[in-house]
Assembly symmetry: C2
Homo-oligomer: 193 residues x 2
C-alpha cells in the first residue's frame, strides 16, 4: 500500500453517495449485473439492491468477484415489498426506469434528493408491484427501431445524469457522508486485500 | 404494415446520421457488440465498423440477428489500416475512447463534425496503431475503485453526449441525409420483413 493509493482510497470513500442507489428488479444475467455494479462504483454508489427470490441461483456474482462486487456491496432482498420498504425506510424516493407513454424524460427528475433508480429485466421490465411504489417513471428517448436499451446501458445513461446533477449540487465535495463505522470498516477492507 | 409504422420508419431513416459511426477495435464479446449495436440504433447510427482479422469467428453476430444487426449494418474490416483508411476517405475524424493521462474529457470534443468513436477491448483497449490515427483521445471521468467501464457502457455514455451535441446543432432535423439509393433500399428492407 503506497501513500498515494491510501490517499486515493480515502478520496473515493469521501465521494461515496450513501443516499443514492440502484434497485435491480428481476435482472438475472450476470454480465448485466456486473456491468451495472461497475458503473455504480464509478458514480460513487456504495451498495446495490437486488430483488432475488429465495432459491434463485446466486452464482451470478461469481463473474464480478474480485471485481466490482468488492467496491459496491450487493444487497439481496427476497421480494419486492421488502426491498421497497427497506429503501423507503431510509428516506429514499424510487424512480422506475420504464418505457411507458406516461413516463417523463429522465433528465427531468431530481436526483439530488435521496433516491433509488429502479431497473427491470430484459423481457419483463420493472414489475407492476415495484412501479406502484415509485414516485416517477423515467424514460430515455430513443431515435431508432429498437425499443429499448440493454439494461446496463440504460443504467449508465441515467447514472450519468444523476452524477451531473450531484456534481452541480456539490454532493461530491462535502467530505465523507458515510456513517463513521461503515467508513472505517470499508477503509480497512480496501486497504487489506 | 400500418401507415403509422411506415411513417415511423421514414422518420427514423430521416434522422439517421451517415457522418457518424463507431469503430470497434478488437472487441470479441458478442454481448458487448450486441449492446453497442442497440445503442448505435438509438442515436441514429446506421453502420458500425468492426476490425476482425480474417479467420476470426463471426458467430458473434448470431445473438443480435433479428435484432439490432438488422437496423445497424455491421461492416467488417480485416485490419486496422484498412478500417482507418476507409473512415478517413469518408472525411471522418477519429476519436479514441481511451484511458490515458493525456486524454481529454469526452465532453470537450466536437462530435457535430463527421466522426467515428473508437472503442477498445476489455484487456487491450484501443490498439496503438489505431490510436496513432486518431485526432484525440477522450476519457470519461470516474469516481470509483474500478479503472474502466464496460465497453458498451463507455460507448453509451459517449454516444449520449454525441447525441446531445447533434440535437443542439439540429442534425436530427435536417431531413434525410442518407444517399438516396441507400435510403430507398433500407426503406424497402425495413418495410418487408
Ligand atoms: C430491455 S429493457 C426492458 C424492456 C421490456 N420489454 C419493457 O417493455 O419494459 C430492460 C430495462 O432497461 C431499462 N431501460 C431500457 N431502455 C430504457 C429507456 N429507453 N428508458 C428507460 N429505461 C430503459 C428499464 O429499466 C428496463 O426495464
Ligand atoms: C474495459 S475498457 C479497456 C481497459 C483497458 N485495460 C485499457 O487500459 O485500455 C474497454 C474500452 O472501453 C472504453 N472505456 C472504458 N472506460 C472508459 C473511460 N472511462 N473513458 C474512456 N473510454 C473508456 C475504451 O474504449 C476501452 O478501450
Amino acid at each position: 500500500m503506497t501513500p498515494r493509493r491510501f490517499y486515493r482510497i480515502r478520496q473515493i470513500l469521501d465521494q461515496r453517495q450513501p443516499d443514492l442507489t440502484v434497485l435491480a428488479d428481476g435482472i438475472h444475467k450476470s454480465q448485466n449485473i456486473s456491468a451495472i455494479l461497475r458503473t455504480c462504483d464509478a458514480v460513487g454508489i456504495n451498495e446495490l439492491h437486488w430483488i432475488v427470490p429465495p432459491g434463485e441461483k446466486s452464482g451470478i456474482w461469481k463473474r464480478s468477484a474480485g471485481g466490482s462486487a468488492r467496491w459496491v456491496k450487493p444487497q439481496r432482498h427476497p421480494d419486492s415489498a421488502i426491498a421497497v420498504a427497506h429503501l423507503q425506510a431510509r428516506g429514499m424516493v424510487l424512480y422506475a426506469a420504464h418505457l411507458s407513454p406516461t413516463a417523463v424524460d429522465y433528465r427531468e427528475v431530481d436526483y439530488t434528493r435521496p433516491c433509488a433508480v429502479v431497473l427491470g429485466a430484459e423481457k419483463e421490465g420493472v414489475s407492476t408491484a415495484v412501479r406502484a411504489a415509485c414516485s416517477a417513471e423515467i424514460t430515455i428517448p430513443m431515435y431508432g427501431m429498437v425499443e429499448s436499451f440493454n439494461v446496463s446501458v440504460a443504467a449508465a445513461l441515467i447514472l450519468a445524469e444523476v452524477r451531473q446533477q450531484r456534481e452541480r449540487a456539490g454532493l461530491y465535495d462535502t467530505g465523507s457522508r458515510l456513517p463513521k463505522d461503515l467508513y472505517e470498516r470499508t477503509l480497512f477492507e480496501w486497504c487489506h486485500p
